[in-house]
Subunit: 216 residues, 2 copies
């Protein structure tokens, strides 16, 4: 069966977004730099319909992830673009534009029922009000034998971790200190102490890819 | 000149000690497991006068660190064993016993003047009331052309980072989630956003050693 994997970029000091998030800067101050390594890859540029990009270890990691992922789960704020006053609008548009980079079904956790939206390039947004298990069930069905990825935010990832549903984590450690912002491991919702198993380390000049088996 | 390096074990979720620190468990719940990879190495056991231990990538990292370090700086609480009521006693004994594992001069940051103490095996504790720059100056003089290591705690490391004095970090990422405790990057005292340079990644089954150049 498809695995549930968290695939996320994090600063060395543990942040997945910087402080002062706005619609213009949904990842906060310095947050976008966490993803510089992705933007530099050929695989990412191709998936966004752009020419160019590097073919390197980072690009292979992105390619693998694109190839293996059949569905994505995200929180409501990630759908509409970070935190902010607009998060109170349950009908806010997707922050991701007309041709989002997913190219597969995306399930958005929300408290407000809403019609599904089909975008260009194969991305569909389905709004799930039944909680994380319902979202996972639907995502698994959509993904077939491919993996289901948690795109974020951090709180959504923590909910799946706490529920014992998360099976793998791939954390891309970016060589920077953000100093403030949204921590991936801010609020531990689950059992306090747990071991995980490091299954793969890939290094590159721009980032270190750490892969962990979480299900134990 | 000798470099100032922070060499520290951290959980994947960013903690260098667990919660509920006591004299019996100075690293808190789960904190000692952060160092399991060290205890398993031949290099560590040798430096503690114990037989046995593994000769592997981890042991080489420990050996390198022992070989290169000529002096250590630590905070007052690390000297006397974690946080707790006893930290108010400026004359508390070293938690490290009669034969501490340093075998070189150790400089303890404190607000209370106190006579130096020479222990067995070459470890001396010198108490520095003149602040972090004074401690560094004394440690550099003692280390000669070897490196000066910051042993911790996290707040001491942050002070050196904020002052722009820290030159390298070697963070040993242990494959575990502590969930709570003392974060290495809790309180950023310095400039908020900064890049660092990842200069080396060494992986082993028990831990991932990430080395960064901080001085930029």
């Amino acid at each position: 069966m498809a695995k549930l994997i968290l695939d996320i970029s994090m600063s060395l000091d543990g942040f997945v977004a910087g402080p002062s998030q706005t619609l213009e800067e949904p990842l906060g101050k310095g947050g976008e730099q966490l993803h510089e390594w992705v933007f530099a890859t050929k695989a990412w540029n191709e998936s966004h319909g752009h020419p160019g990009g590097e073919v390197n270890a980072d690009s292979e990691v992105v390619e693998e992830s694109l190839r293996n992922t059949g569905a994505t789960i995200m929180g409501r704020r990630m759908f509409s673009g970070g935190e902010g006053p607009w998060e109170d609008d349950p009908n806010a548009d997707a922050w991701w534009g007309d041709d989002p980079p997913f190219h597969h079904p995306v399930f958005v956790l929300t408290h407000h029922a809403r019609e599904p939206e089909a975008k260009e390039g194969g991305t569909t947004f389905t709004f799930v009000t039944g909680g994380i298990e319902s979202a996972l069930e639907q995502a698994r069905a959509a993904a077939g034998d491919q993996d289901v990825a948690i795109a974020g935010g951090a709180n959504v990832a923590q909910q799946y971790l706490a529920a014992g549903l998360l099976e793998e984590m791939q954390i891309h450690v970016a060589p920077m200190l953000l100093g403030d912002g949204v921590r991936l491991f801010e609020s531990h919702l689950g059992p306090r102490w747990r071991e995980v198993e490091c299954t793969r380390v890939i290094e590159s000049p721009m980032v270190t890819h750490l892969r962990y088996n979480v299900s134990a």
